[in-house]
């Protein structure tokens, strides 16, 4: 199917750009990013710094792979999983009424927006991730079938 190929390219370019954009500020400001993770009140204290050290690089690598279209099954699995975690974390804090800085694209607390908007936006991103996951899954299965027959 031709449209599926086009959709995969568009979606992976979008998500790839998104992840790279999200990673840059965090890579430059690890302490501020750790503070944001702390404010989410989800990870235990012992895990906060490790997450702040590794997560931005995971986002960057992921973004580059998505842009390049390499390692797609793995990249999109991690991407969708991350988006799912972010979405759950936002939803969880929305539900318990904790108003936090999203920290999604910037480590500055001046980032404007409400919890509701963040959550809505993240739902759209998660939907994009899942759609790409399904498309890649279908195409790759077909390719593997061709390779092995």
């Amino acid at each position: 199917m031709k449209w599926a190929g086009v959709a995969i390219i568009l979606l992976r370019l979008f998500l790839g750009g998104l992840f790279i954009y999200a990673s840059v500020d965090k890579i430059f400001n690890p302490a501020a990013f750790a503070e944001i993770i702390y404010n989410y009140r989800i990870l235990s204290g012992a895990l906060i710094n490790i997450a702040a050290i590794v997560l931005p690089w995971l986002e960057l690598i992921l973004g580059l792979l998505l842009l390049a279209g390499r390692f797609m099954p793995g990249a999109i699995l991690i991407g969708t999983t991350l988006l799912f975690f972010f979405w759950t974390a936002l939803l969880f804090n929305l539900a318990r009424g904790l108003d936090i800085h999203c920290g999604c694209f910037s480590t500055q607390s001046t980032e404007q927006g409400s919890m509701l908007w963040y959550t809505f936006r993240d739902t759209a991103f998660l939907g994009t991730g899942i759609a790409l996951f399904i498309l890649v899954w279908r195409r790759s299965k077909k390719q593997i079938t061709l390779e092995t027959t």
Partner: protein
């Protein structure tokens, strides 16, 4: 091998490789950079509530109580107005840190810079009192302290409060 299974194995292998790469890259860069983080941070209130110079800002409960009794300290409630209206430490003024630019003149405009200020909010992990204390230090106040979990401790101890009757 069926295509689905092969795809799954490929996906898991790639996932492991990408995560491993991110861990190695992240740890290496963190190790090299001058502003790298320690791998396990201390996120307890004692470690977090410090001035820019690293001195602890926490005031022990008994000391805060004494300063309230003597009237030497000005208590500042850092929570939002709604919570303040529902109940606060007797004599406290309301100054949420995100409103400081707007409210500063009327709340602290004629307070001497060396007056003892005790900022509080509610809960062990509430950040508002810390944010407020740091903002006040930046504005030149010299004796700013934070009473951790202030509102809950104060009420549980049966100390003077002003509460709205329902």
């Amino acid at each position: 091998m069926p295509a689905g299974k092969k795809f799954l194995l490929r996906m898991i292998g790639q996932t492991a490789a990408i995560v491993l790469a991110a861990v190695i890259l992240g740890l290496t860069v963190n190790h090299v950079r001058p502003d790298g983080l320690s791998l396990v941070g201390d996120w307890s209130p004692e470690a977090r509530i410090t001035s820019a110079a690293g001195d602890s800002l926490i005031i022990p409960f008994e000391e805060a109580k004494g300063q309230h009794d003597s009237g030497r300290a000005l208590f500042l409630d850092a929570r939002s107005e709604v919570w303040f209206e529902m109940g606060h430490i007797k004599g406290a003024k309301n100054l949420p840190p995100n409103q400081i630019d707007r409210l500063f003149p009327q709340v602290l405009g004629d307070t001497p810079k060396d007056r003892l200020i005790v900022a509080y909010c509610d809960g062990e992990h509430c950040e508002l009192s810390r944010d407020l204390a740091l903002a006040l230090l930046e504005r030149g106040f010299t004796k700013v302290r934070v009473l951790v979990n202030g509102w809950t401790l104060w009420r549980e101890a049966g100390l003077p409060v002003e509460e709205k009757r329902p």
